[in-house]
């Protein structure tokens, strides 16, 4: 992703750079339609690369840069050795910044009557009550938007030497994004 930004000289590159193509994203999500047709298997890819190398010599201008950028969008992560420091630096936790007040997407993994247990990629889950609006859609597997108030409910009480944790995060439920119930309804 970073070398894309350095080489951005043309329109194609700018489109790709703004779409924030990360190492973890699949090539189908990248903007260029050429990469959507890219097969995942080995030999056809090599053939396509060879062909595009030849065509690079023949084409020019926008077409040339389009080819170049669509090749660069394909992640070449066959056997890359990640260091922990680089993984942490590029992780979502660092992207979050100060977690208080940020909106994240979570998934409901357990429901107990009116309590929804939502996992949003952190160490702990959060527990929210089922809202009255569109309440039936909040089932196991539904994706929801939540606003983080506190990542871990822990505080030191008077007289104790260490904090007392509740092993839970504290979040406010904003709304539902997708739900298995809704998907079933729309299919009908």
């Amino acid at each position: 992703m970073f070398h894309l930004k350095q080489s951005s000289q043309s329109i194609g590159a700018m489109v790709l750079a703004t779409s924030r193509v990360t190492r973890l994203m699949r090539p189908s999500i990248a903007v260029s339609s050429r990469s959507l047709c890219t097969p995942a298997s080995g030999p056809p890819k090599e053939v396509q690369e060879n062909i595009s190398e030849e065509t690079l010599n023949k084409i020019s201008g926008f077409a040339k840069s389009f080819e170049k950028q669509s090749q660069l969008a394909e992640p070449k992560e066959v056997e890359q050795n990640y260091t922990f420091a680089s993984l942490l630096r590029n992780s979502k936790l660092m992207d979050l910044g100060d977690p208080v007040g940020k909106v994240v997407i979570g998934k409901i993994f357990h429901v107990v009557e009116d309590d929804l247990y939502i996992d949003f990629g952190w160490k702990f889950h959060c527990v929210c009550t089922r809202p009255s609006v569109r309440g039936e859609e909040y089932v196991r597997g539904a994706r929801v938007r939540i606003q983080i108030k506190d990542l871990e409910l822990s505080s030191r009480f008077l007289g104790s030497s260490t904090d007392l944790t509740l092993l839970e995060a504290d979040c406010k439920l904003l709304g539902v994004i997708s739900s298995p119930i809704r998907a079933a309804v729309s299919e009908k």
Binding site: Y82, T83, F84, L87, L88, S91, L93, M94, D98, P99, G121, W122, K123, F124, L151, E152, S154, S155, R156, T162, D163, L164, T165, L167
Partner: protein, 250 residues
């Protein structure tokens, strides 16, 4: 070439044995012949990683399973400081390189214990993951104890079970805490009964009594699932080697 070196090693062991026996009060001479199966038995212990447990996981797997997340700074146990990478806005982060090192040692030990036919007992007091731990123990052919721990199960076993009992040869704690305030009694009891322990220690846990502590997250189900899979794989590898060894010799 290997046979000669093994023989030489055995010879040197014999000579050191004779020398050390000058201090002992032993009566019988120390002339034990080196047999074929003795050479084969010492082979697994000579390797630093006989069961190749380092292939079971990568640092990226640990990262994706959220093993590096710790609690807040307020609940940090002082003894966990060497295992930390740092703190992010009050939330502690484990150094996964150190964790990987410890985890490899723990898995290697588990595989060796399984190879020698030892009983392994899994412990977990977190209700969220109890079923997963029990299932892992069942699938690996070992034992688990995820319920309330009566006081004298290890220390007063003969009395509590009525008969002479064989205690576990290895205790694996996927969660060393009983509840937020107390450590699991079995950690202390295993140390009393000289049972080696492996424990996943979080930032609020005390790693002192545990033989092979593995600093990491013990609250997220994905992390516990990863540990369960790794330990199960190590145990199954050890048992497979044991079956192979027994078949070769019979």
């Amino acid at each position: 070439m290997k046979m000669i070196s093994n023989c030489l090693r055995q010879r040197s062991l014999l000579t050191t044995q004779i020398l050390s026996r000058f201090n002992s009060t032993a009566i019988e001479p120390a002339t034990t012949p080196v047999t074929e199966d003795q050479v084969a038995k010492t082979k697994p212990l000579d390797h630093p990683d006989y069961f190749r447990v380092h292939n079971l996981f990568t640092v990226k797997d640990l990262f994706d399973a959220r093993v590096h997340y710790g609690h807040k700074e307020g609940s940090l146990n002082d003894f966990m400081r060497p295992y930390l990478y740092g703190s992010r806005l009050g939330h502690l982060i484990f150094d996964l390189d150190i964790t990987a090192e410890h985890l490899r040692k723990a898995l290697n030990f588990t595989a060796h214990v399984a190879y020698r036919g030892g009983i392994i007992c899994f412990f977990n007091r977190n209700a969220l993951n109890a079923h997963l731990v029990e299932k892992t123990a069942l699938e690996s052919g070992e034992y688990a104890h995820t319920r309330f721990w009566r006081g004298g199960i290890f220390t007063n076993a003969n009395h509590q079970f009525g008969a002479v009992t064989r205690l576990p040869d290895l205790c694996i704690f996927l969660n060393t805490q009983n509840n937020i305030l107390n450590q699991h009694t079995a950690v202390r009891d295993s140390a009393k009964m000289l049972i080696p322990t492996i424990g996943i220690v979080d930032t609020n846990c005390n790693p002192n009594l545990i033989t092979y502590p593995v600093p990491g997250n013990d609250d997220t189900p994905s992390a516990i699932e990863l540990y369960c899979n790794l330990f199960k794989a190590a145990i199954l590898r050890g048992k497979e080697e044991r079956m192979k060894f027994l078949q070769d010799n019979n």
